[in-house]
Amino acid sequence: MDLLPVLLLTVLIVGYFVLAGCDIGLGMAAPRLARTPAERRRLVSAIAPYFLGTEVWLVAAIGVVAGLFPALKGVLFGGGGMWAVFTVLAFGWIMRDAGLWARARVDTDRWRSACDAALVGGSWTLAVCWGLAVGGLLSGGRPLTPFALACAAAVVALFLLRGAAFGAERLVPAGPSASAAGADEAARLTRLLARTALGAGLLAAVLAAVPFTGADLGRPWFALAAAAAVLAAVGATSGVSGPHLSRHTSALALGAVPVLVGTALVLPLDPAPPGTLVLVGAAVVPLLPLMVVGQVALYRMLRRPAPDHGFFVTPPPVPAGR
């Protein structure tokens, strides 16, 4: 019983990194992968409505922290540095989502460029802040130590890798005539990004052993094991294989990051009092099947190559005379 809430939180956070890594990473890589208006349309429709189903994992995780692990907040937001990182993260999140929701609502180039800027800038802000958050947590709440920055670089590279792997699959056009340049470019990028992530990860691992670079790990052996998993996963794609393998290894690597943080630190994970557990359990368990059905149905429907029309992509035709 004590273990269930911890498991729930782990699943939610890992789920967020694995799933949302795709849309955040693809948003970051947009300037490189989508150069023509048609390519940009396809890229946006690969991200939306995918993001609707992915960010809820984080919203749910925040809820679980608030309701079942209130003491965790002291660790997460302790100190002004971490508070600032999460405040900026929230801002980047809002910007990215606003760009996605608004992009197809007005049919002018200026509007679209503004929304694309919000999408790209917001995605980078999200990834960088997650990087600093991970690094900061592993540095005892100081997000700007050399070790924290190396961790941040690795996390950012992993987000990009995840996005490129996702793009290689989803940016393939539906018809035979259109160009698949974006997908090919994404596939090519996966190798470079995997190597970058590997390099940054190794640097962080080395710094963790060097005194005075910031690392502050409660349980270094667990950290080592989890870090080895991350590095092995990215290592597996960095030289040998094309984009296909990176779809799975990038998921493994990014999903292992929160596990690394969770195991390396000694976190205050005391179980909630029975009344709270009963309430949350009774309210959430009956809806679990619906949560699963919805998520599975959404990803099944989105498995095909992204279309370049629809609610998030097609701007309104303005009727004559208005």
């Binding site: 809820g63 079942l68 907040k73 999460f86 989502d97 909630a272 309430l279 029309h309």
Partner: protein, 415 residues
């Protein structure tokens, strides 16, 4: 003002919450309208009806986006700025919010994604069922949020041990009168708002004689019915809440002695700014209701005289209807939240103690960042809503693909 983190955080919360609620109330009011519209169109295999659903559904989605964005900030703001609340009440106040995010919002957003993407890709009933889930979970969301919020006003269902609230009676938490009555009040007032918006948009188009397939004439009638039906239950569910005034909440005395409570409240006084703002909110709400009741009555008479949808002076009047439920809703919330002062959780936790310790610089930066972003996003969304409402069904965000004469799309299952 920029020297006082407490004031900044309070104003920031009030602005975000008011913005959030304006969009949320529209979500709650429109969802049943879209749901029943789609059901009717399905049962009658009616293409005009489906055109209407695509139109109102498009407005719903534009609005929903801002509901989500502002809701995220609410959640993060509670976590980042009001940590005192979580330190003491995490297990009681945070638990219903945790349920809201997991059970209600998680499902709502996923199924909304399915509904948006599924227009041409799913069976008709499967597609409708997605929106059924969206509507039910939107109301479920609202209920759990109100359970959290009701706890602040009427703390019940827990006992305080070692300075932290331990939830020991979940049933009392869920049946909290300050949550259930307010939830009922919110449901009916949101229906009022939905009805008023439908009336106003329809009247705008009818006045310009733009209604080729009778879509807006029918919507004007439905909107009027919604408003007329919602008026009395709004007073009843709102008015019943006055019963709790002047009563001590059940857990009073567990954190502070009655003498201490007395001291804190009298130090704060009855004439504080927050209190005065709250009274104005109350007045605004009641007055708006009175105006709506009057306009509703006039509309009923016009209908009986056969002038509904035809008399131009009345169409002009109907077009301003939405101002009043919006004003009343913000007024109602301002009343509810300021009336609680100086407490965040009545008789347990003062607002000053609920605030996260932060430097004035940090508080100012967070305030500036989010207030500016909110102003831009809120105004943009409102502008888009008005724009799409005016453009009409042919240019809506969810208009049928055939309408574009665009041959790039996938094969379409006829609806």
């Amino acid at each position: 003002m920029f020297e006082d983190p407490l004031l900044l955080a309070r104003v920031q919360f009030a602005l975000t919450a008011a913005t959030h609620y304006m969009f949320v109330a529209f979500t709650l009011g429109m969802a049943p309208y879209v749901l029943f519209g789609q059901l009717r169109a399905l049962l009658r295999v009616d293409s005009t009806g489906m055109r209407a659903v695509r139109f109102w559904g498009g407005l719903y989605l534009v609005n929903y986006a801002m509901g989500i964005l502002s809701g995220l900030v609410m959640e993060l703001q509670l976590t980042l700025n009001w940590s005192g609340l979580h330190d003491m009440f995490g297990y009681a106040f945070g638990a219903p919010l945790a349920i809201e995010t997991m059970a209600a919002f998680f499902v709502e957003s996923t199924f909304l994604g399915l509904w948006i993407f599924g227009w041409d890709r799913m069976g008709r009933w499967a597609h409708w069922s997605c929106f059924l889930v969206v509507t039910l979970t939107a109301y479920l969301s609202a209920y759990w949020v109100m359970v959290s919020n009701g706890l602040l006003k009427w703390p019940a269902g827990f006992s305080v041990r070692d300075g932290a609230a331990v939830l020991d009676d979940p049933a009392a938490l869920m049946a909290n009168p300050s949550a259930t009555l307010a939830f009922a009040h919110i449901c009916v007032s949101a229906l009022l708002m939905g009805g008023a918006v439908v009336m106003a948009v329809s009247a705008y188009h009818l006045r310009r004689r733009r209604d080729p397939d009778g879509l807006f004439a029918r919507a004007l009638r439905t909107g009027t019915v919604l408003v007329l039906v919602g008026l009395v239950p709004t007073v009843v569910t709102g008015g019943t809440q006055f019963v709790m005034y002047g009563q001590e909440p059940p857990t009073s005395g567990q954190s502070y002695t009655p003498a201490e409570i007395e001291g804190i409240e009298s130090a704060y006084g009855d004439t504080s700014t927050a209190h005065l703002i709250g009274i104005s909110g109350d007045l605004l709400m009641m007055l708006s209701w009175a105006v709506m009741a009057l306009l509703g009555l006039v509309t009923a008479l016009v209908w009986m005289a056969g002038g509904l949808g035809r008399w131009r002076w009345h169409l002009r009047v109907a077009a301003v209807m939405p101002l009043f439920p919006y004003a009343a809703s913000v007024g109602g919330w301002v009343f509810r939240e300021t009336e609680r002062q100086p407490w965040t959780v009545r008789h347990h936790l003062t607002t000053a103690d609920a605030l996260t310790e932060m430097s004035p610089l940090a508080a100012g930066a967070s305030f500036t960042l989010f207030t500016a972003a909110f102003a831009v996003l809120g105004i943009t969304t409102a502008w888009l809503l008005v724009r799409f409402a005016r453009l009409g069904p042919d240019a809506g965000p969810l208009r049928a693909p055939e309408a574009d004469g665009d041959e790039r799309r996938d094969p379409v299952t006829p609806l």
